[in-house]
Amino acid sequence: MLYLLVALIHGLATNPNFQWGLIGHNLFDGFVLKGAVRTLMLTFLSMLVGVALGTILAIMRMSPVPIVSGAAWVYIWFFRGTPVYVQLLFWGSIAALTGQHVAVQIPLTGIVLFHTSPTQLVPLLLAAVLGLGLNEGAYMAEIVRAGILSVGEGQVEAASSLGMRRLQTLRLIVLPQAMRVIIPPTGNETIGMLKTTSLVSAALAYDELLQSVTLVYQVTYQIIPWLLIASIWYLVMTSVLTLGQFYLERHFARGATRSLPPTPLQRLRALFVRNLTMFHARQATESPTRTRREWP
């Protein structure tokens, strides 16, 4: 079993197809790094749009006004019901359209409201962020709504009895407590988003990480090593995000539990200290671990 594993790793490490030398050499190439930064930026901006939109949609869905909650429901229905790739292609084609000469005029007056020149490159980034963010908003809406519902009714009543209004209660009392429920799935969404941004390379040809390496291997045909380079960076970025998620969750666990979970660092230290004390304990074997209480 172990032999197989070793053989596999050995095979991977020595297989010329992977060209580890090439990977090591190009891992920190300028355009690779630039692609990684763009992927991060795309993830961050799209999640920003998604979280903001999701929060608004969640609040709208819980509105007592039927038109407001209905509108949110239709939005979520549409964006969750269509593939994000199709949505990206859609935004891409709009971007391409506006890349040509477009002018918006008020009919019959000849006054030009809005005008783009053919040379003006409609920012692909904007199209990508819109495509990813508007889609994400539909998912975040459900996550935020679940968070809001997780906060007990007594909290809302206590806030109301102090004279807080609905939105004040949401902002000051409900949402901070809902965070405990909202953060973990949002972390997952962020990590998912980081990977979903790779769809943008195909749909919009915006050169984020995957598109950057694609541009290279389309020329050199060294597909596997360049895809491995991209994968290594995706792994690094998701790992960093996972760590960030841990600290955020810990921050919002305040008040809900009496003691906070240890950080990875604290865990390491505890492991070290425990082993040390076990070592000492083993040396002092003579001392009894427990004494029985004597009853008269």
Partner: protein, 261 residues
């Protein structure tokens, strides 16, 4: 205590034929009650008799279906103009609620805030008080309920009795003219009941107008100006607490008292 001293001749709470239904179930079936300023009225009654619902109607957490309900001379939730009733807007309802303190069976402290932040949040966010001013008053209120040194604790770090005392301080921070207590000691271990009742006793002694739903008959006898026994959404018997407890007139009151005494 309260901002505008209420006129002594006018009832703080006046209920006339108050009815409330949830769906087809009528929970309050014509409640008449009068609470004068500085009075302590204790409501007792079996589970499901509508005690909580009536308290919640008083600060408009529930809308009544029929009858009339006034607090300090103003209709709850409505404005009367030319013989017609107009429903109040959200911020008007909120402003009126801010003048009525409420203490819940399950405390309902805000768990993400410290004790002193719980007491400050109302004055700062609703009344627009400065943080420094609100903190000073909050500290004074925590001192008063015997928790001056626990201001930085989160609710989860406090005992039930301490949490309920913070909740009382939080309600008092709004300088209410009326305090509603919904079984404030029912969720507490027996040895913690006393500290909460003591805080309420002190409040009554200072002249706060209070409506208290409780099963603590001793408190009713000692502090109450009036005792109201509710059953099945109606008031069965009301009057001097000492007389009712010693000599209940109705069979249902007798039965209930024999169970809780």
């Amino acid at each position: 205590m309260s901002a505008g001293e209420p006129a002594l001749g006018r009832p703080m709470v006046l209920a006339e034929g108050v009815r409330k239904s949830f769906g087809r179930v009528e929970v309050l079936r014509g409640i008449d009650m009068q609470v004068m300023p500085r009075e302590v009225v204790v409501i007792i009654g079996p589970s499901g008799s509508g005690k909580s619902t009536f308290l919640r109607c008083i600060n408009h957490l529930e809308k009544i279906n029929a009858g009339r309900l006034w607090v300090d001379g103003e209709l709850v939730g409505y404005r009367q103009r030319g013989g017609k009733l107009h429903e109040l807007k959200e911020n008007e309802v909120a402003r009126k609620r801010s003048e009525i303190g409420m203490v819940f069976q399950s405390f309902n402290l805000f768990p993400h805030m410290t004790a002193i932040e719980n007491v400050m949040v109302g004055p700062v966010q609703v009344k627009g008080e400065s943080k420094a001013e609100a903190r000073g008053r909050a500290q004074g209120l925590l001192d008063r309920v015997g928790l001056g040194d626990r201001g930085d604790a989160h609710p989860a770090q406090l005992s039930g009795g301490q949490q309920q005392r913070v909740a009382i301080a939080r309600a008092l921070a709004m300088q209410p003219k009326l305090m509603l207590f919904d079984e404030p000691t029912s969720a507490l271990d027996p040895e913690l009941v006393g500290e909460v009742l003591d805080a309420m006793r002190g409040l009554a002694a200072e002249g706060m107008t209070m409506i208290v739903v409780t099963h603590e008959i001793g408190f009713a006898r000692e502090v109450g100006d009036a005792l109201v026994f509710m059953d099945g959404g109606v008031i069965v018997e009301a009057g001097n607490p000492r007389e009712i407890i010693a000599n209940p007139q109705h069979e249902r009151t007798k039965q209930f008292l024999s169970k809780v005494l």
